[in-house]
Assembly symmetry: C2
């Protein structure tokens, strides 16, 4: 029988995180203070994060050791499998080999616990009692709820109201892990009240929910804030994915020609890609493809410039590809990809040409997700459906060109909490959204007062 | 770091199924024809099942080879991990070691694909074009939908109406795999129409849904019927679980003192236990504990006698512990355990004293499931919550007695499609049901005309 699953034992878990800032040709410029617009120092971030995470945020060391307590918690589900999609290959009749790293085996079904566990650990270590965060589709909120529980921390999650109402199972999961959850905008913060005054029925957005969480964290001594993507330390924690994949690709005897990940904030793409980008910087030839929704085309249509991470302009300004912090993306099912900005590290890599980006419309990604489910069994999260679509497109092209090609993509999560999306797709109720150039221009125009 | 996950590679997949009928002190007596009440032969079952499955049903060979095509499909998710629940042990402060076999890693989240794949394969091999089945909570229906798709078969699922309405995500999963699903009772069969005439709002039951599926299978040349538990060949296919666990327990250096599984029809309990029961028959000391809901206490309060598998009396009569085929259990959340009967093989083992049984009420099992989720991360299916409760009870007893004890249980599935059960539990909306002796007597009285 041909091997399909490439497994590592627990003692092969990576012992360090890989910090790409040490190897980048052009690292991102420093974040700016939201008020003064001057470069910020560690002390400016101290109300939000514990000091060890702040130091990781600005570190230029190439590797950072993973604490034993974090390794032990990661070992509840890591190392994750690398799987060759032989049945998908057969269905596509392609000479390409398709491998995927499967992060859906975590308790919350996505890659998010990789950083949630690390963040909960460092907060616990510095005496923090309570973590607060926001969540869109719920992958991040449920992961932080799970991780906070492991280290005895209280946890509170502001969930974008439209998702809170549409995804009762994610809400239930967050409560099962013992965390508190409430819909955003809420009447409990200035940011939330300001939105509700204008629109009592506001469906909410990630930007608004971030504002609420940050506001509450800053206002309470025992509480810190936690973010599930975008920031350097978050991407750092995800590099266990790519380091495992390096060992596992070596077991296959193949080497990836193309590496693919979907991008919302950028953390699952970064997690798989960064350790391999190091190999590219050192001379290997790999094509890195970041994929995003056409309805929120940050990397393909946004502008690289300073912008806020949230709607209420409470967060530091970071240089990133952005569609503008006031932009509210269409309500596509890949909720985890509906973010106006993109990680500064990923943005710089795109600018420097080390990676490239493509945007897809929703129906195409669901077509590909369905083919994947019916051949490989796993029903993918709608976000991961974007990566699958890119892999299938690449494999079809390989067939046309008659080229053997090795494709590796990150299956960042399963879709078992998103089945209503599949119901809607199968019933023909989903529509495509693509953001027009005019809309992009209009949103970016609102940033004129900010530094570039 | 202490090892928590014991993994096997694909080439360690068992190559044969283990048939306990070869080793049992008292095998079950033959099934009887529903009309004549005479022992049935293979030809009587031919309208329902392909011949290779019928031969497995009556086989007394100790091992039956697993076809390469079945092994290949199983390898999409097998071997499954054996995990030591170190965090649960710590929370219980017990000297006991708690191991669990985790079947939730399958694409449909439970052990059911182990037999669905084998059944789809043999049907495909004998030229069948279409499979029909019933499902309660949906674990079985989604697994057969998945497996049928792998072998290019059409699939139709009658889902108990109350579950069809309460579990839209399971319905969506079945449709995602390309199968047809409809609520039972339906107006499309005699059995369904008879029920609807009496009660147009009937919530349905497994017994009714089986009647509908069997009736349609018998009436169509291109269609066979498929059952997810109870029958000998189904339990046979599940023995890959226990055979893997034997190898994995050897890796741990421990040997189980207690082996636990929840019982509806009996297939996940049998899958883990049977290969170890062979060791008990050969002289090892192991305590086998089958656990069930107090609202459907087939093994602990039922009678061992001939009974029908369905409501409309279309199936053969088998000798099993039963509460009577007219019995409709209370609407507890562990839908997979709401069956009036129990596998003939499991029933005989209970009668012969090789295994024992206990029944638990719903709230206790959810308490234990919640503790498990908050320590180990995995949210268990409500069915598996019964096995967890037994393991926790046993571990607490070990602490009281100051005894080191090795516990092994089957975590037959995750609960990510059952989150509404957790919402209801956390909100205090669940109630306990326990079937009274008087109710048991009343239901069994209806079987008087049947042979014992």
């Amino acid at each position: 029988m041909n091997t399909t699953k490439f497994l590592l034992s627990e003692n092969e878990l990576p012992q360090t995180w890989y910090n790409i800032a040490a190897d980048m040709p052009s690292p991102p410029p420093p974040p700016l203070h939201p008020g003064t617009q001057n470069p910020i120092g560690p002390e400016d971030l101290a109300p939000l994060f514990p000091m060890e995470l702040i130091l990781q945020e600005v570190s230029t060391d190439p590797t950072i050791p993973i604490p034993p307590e974090v390794l032990e918690a990661l070992s509840l589900y890591r190392p994750t499998p690398l799987i060759r999609a032989r049945r998908l290959e057969a269905a596509l009749d392609t000479p390409a080999k398709i491998y995927f790293k499967y992060e859906g085996v975590s308790p919350t079904g996505s890659h998010k616990p990789n950083t949630a566990i690390a963040q909960a650990y460092y907060n616990h270590k510095e005496g923090v009692k309570r973590l607060i965060t926001e969540t869109g589709a719920g992958q991040w909120g449920s992961s932080l709820a799970f991780a906070a529980g492991l280290f005895g921390l209280e946890c509170k999650v502001y969930m974008v109201r439209i998702s809170y109402e549409q995804k009762p199972y994610r809400k239930a999961l967050i409560e099962t892990y013992g965390a508190e959850i409430l819909p955003s905008p809420s009447p409990y913060t200035n940011a939330g009240r300001a939105i509700l005054e204008k629109d009592p029925n506001s469906p909410g957005s990630l930007g608004i929910a971030i504002s609420e969480a940050v506001e509450e964290a800053v206002g309470r001594e025992d509480t810190k804030y936690s973010l599930g993507s975008v920031l350097n330390h978050v991407l750092l924690h995800q590099t266990v994915i790519g380091q495992e994949a390096q060992k596992q690709m070596a077991m296959t005897g193949d080497y990836p020609d193309v590496i693919i990940g979907c991008v919302g904030g950028g953390s699952n793409f970064a997690g798989l890609a960064f350790p391999f980008i190091r190999e590219k910087i050192n001379g290997k030839e790999i094509d890195f493809l970041a994929v995003e929704p056409a309805s929120c085309p940050t990397l393909t249509k946004g502008e690289l410039r300073y912008d806020f991470g949230d709607t209420a302009e409470l967060t530091p300004l970071t240089q990133m590809y952005t569609l503008g912090h006031q932009f509210v993306p269409a309500a596509i099912h890949a909720g985890g990809l509906r973010y106006h900005g993109s990680a500064p590290l990923v943005s710089q890599l795109l600018k420097s040409g080390l990676i490239r980006a493509e945007a897809y419309t929703q129906l195409n990604t669901f077509d590909s997700a369905l083919l994947f489910a019916r051949t490989e069994g796993i029903v993918p999260a709608p976000e991961s459906g974007h990566a699958i679509h890119a892999a299938i497109k690449t494999a079809r092209q390989a067939r046309e060109e008659g080229r053997e090609k090795t494709i590796l993509f990150n299956l960042s999560g399963h879709g078992y909490f998103d089945m209503s999306a599949y119901t809607n797709f199968l019933a023909g109720n989903l529509v495509d959204h693509a953001l027009s150039d005019a809309d992009v221009k209009e949103n970016l125009a609102k940033l004129e007062a900010l530094p570039v």
